[in-house]
Assembly symmetry: C2
């Protein structure tokens, strides 16, 4: 099933922007009458039929607006420092979008390997993953913020900080309560400084471990994301 | 901490093979007296001190043999069809090694996108991940087997088959019992054929879902791996 992303989707006739038109008509060679699916990235999916197969201004008729299956009762945010290798951050963004996440916060901390990020490129990775996994919501992502500023922002839910430390024995999976909103800070490749950990604690972040395994930054972020999703799925 | 992999490690003096010698002396520029860690990939870690910094036949003294933290009471095996893009399978192998897995079975099924695999290359990815995450066990991996043959092999533990099907409502996280050995078959990119699902069921595999999200093959495999590990970690 082909899925297109049109942020301004609505029931009725819609024009595609140039890039999506090209992809639809030139790459996928769709013709008038072909059917596909449209997501607005804000929680809705539509059935769609191509009306005009124009390579720059394709037109489709949208109908059957419905809520996607990915409308959750809780909110999940992960804060991560961009990794030295961009492909590792991109891999996390793809997997988190598939598994389910509401927002990714990028931060620069004391030992960050990378302080700038190409957020537009990161957003494209998430759009592709949203389309591929037929999700109705595009996770939010914003430009890199300073760690100290980020931890002082308000968040309505449980706040955790995960990093490698032998003294931290509480597990995220034991501390997170099903149905609650969660924000999890993931230690950067150079790990947090003691001052950063203290500042997070002072701002209500609970230190947690993701288990015995020593995980790379992007693996830890995916594991944290899946932990929260799994606890919400479990019936027993 | 630098970790080297020496399958024949033992307390006392050991010679490094040529490739590891080169890496140690030429790439890392280690000198006699430098200390590092050695894993035998079979469950033991050693402290090591470089005695002779020879670029082709380095010699080290090993001591303090101990069990790694990754010695589990249960066994976890994942069976997966190699993905069309090798990098996606390699990504799964890296992440599964970090998170914890005992064996990866590669299979070719009816709708497999790829029927051959470079197992030596895959093993190298796992060795690198084992060293990076300071694990003491190298997961097993064997060449691609035929699906029909694979599902008929004996396995002492819970057996699951996970694929996309609206009729499958039982979740792996609800069906898997803590402490049990588990083998999970992951649907290939073209999914299983109905006959393959039936054959697996006839051989005792329980159909399970990994949740509502539509996951790529390699994401599903990592999610299944983490699900089993997480259930074994949870204290409450």
């Amino acid at each position: 099933m082909n899925v297109f992303y049109l942020p301004d989707a609505n029931d009725g006739m819609v024009s595609f922007p140039e890039e999506e038109s090209r992809h639809c008509v030139k790459v996928l060679r769709m013709q008038a009458g072909d059917r596909f699916c449209v997501t607005d990235g804000k929680g809705s999916l539509y059935d769609a039929e191509l009306v005009e197969a124009h390579p720059k201004r394709a037109v489709a008729c949208l109908s059957n607006k419905r809520a996607g299956y990915d409308n959750k009762t809780f909110r999940l945010e992960i804060a991560i420092a961009p990794t030295k290798l961009n492909e590792r951050t991109e891999w996390f963004l793809e997997k988190a979008t598939e598994i389910g996440i509401d927002k990714v916060q990028l931060f620069a901390s004391c030992h960050s390997e990378r302080r700038v990020a190409n957020v537009e490129r990161f957003r494209k990775v998430m759009i592709a993953a949203m389309k591929q996994s037929i999700k109705s919501r595009l996770p939010e992502i914003e430009d890199v913020t300073d760690f100290n500023k980020m931890v002082q922002q308000p968040f309505d839910g449980q706040k955790f900080i995960a990093w490698i430390d032998d003294d931290v024995t509480d597990l995220l999976c034991d501390k997170y309560e099903k149905g609650q909103n969660a924000l999890v800070l993931i230690g950067p490749e150079g790990d947090f400084s003691p001052e950063e950990v203290q500042l997070a604690k002072d701002n209500g972040f609970v230190p947690v471990s993701l288990g015995e395994a020593r995980l790379r930054t992007e693996t830890a972020a995916v594991v944290a994301c899946h932990t929260v999703q799994l606890i919400n799925q479990m019936r027993k």
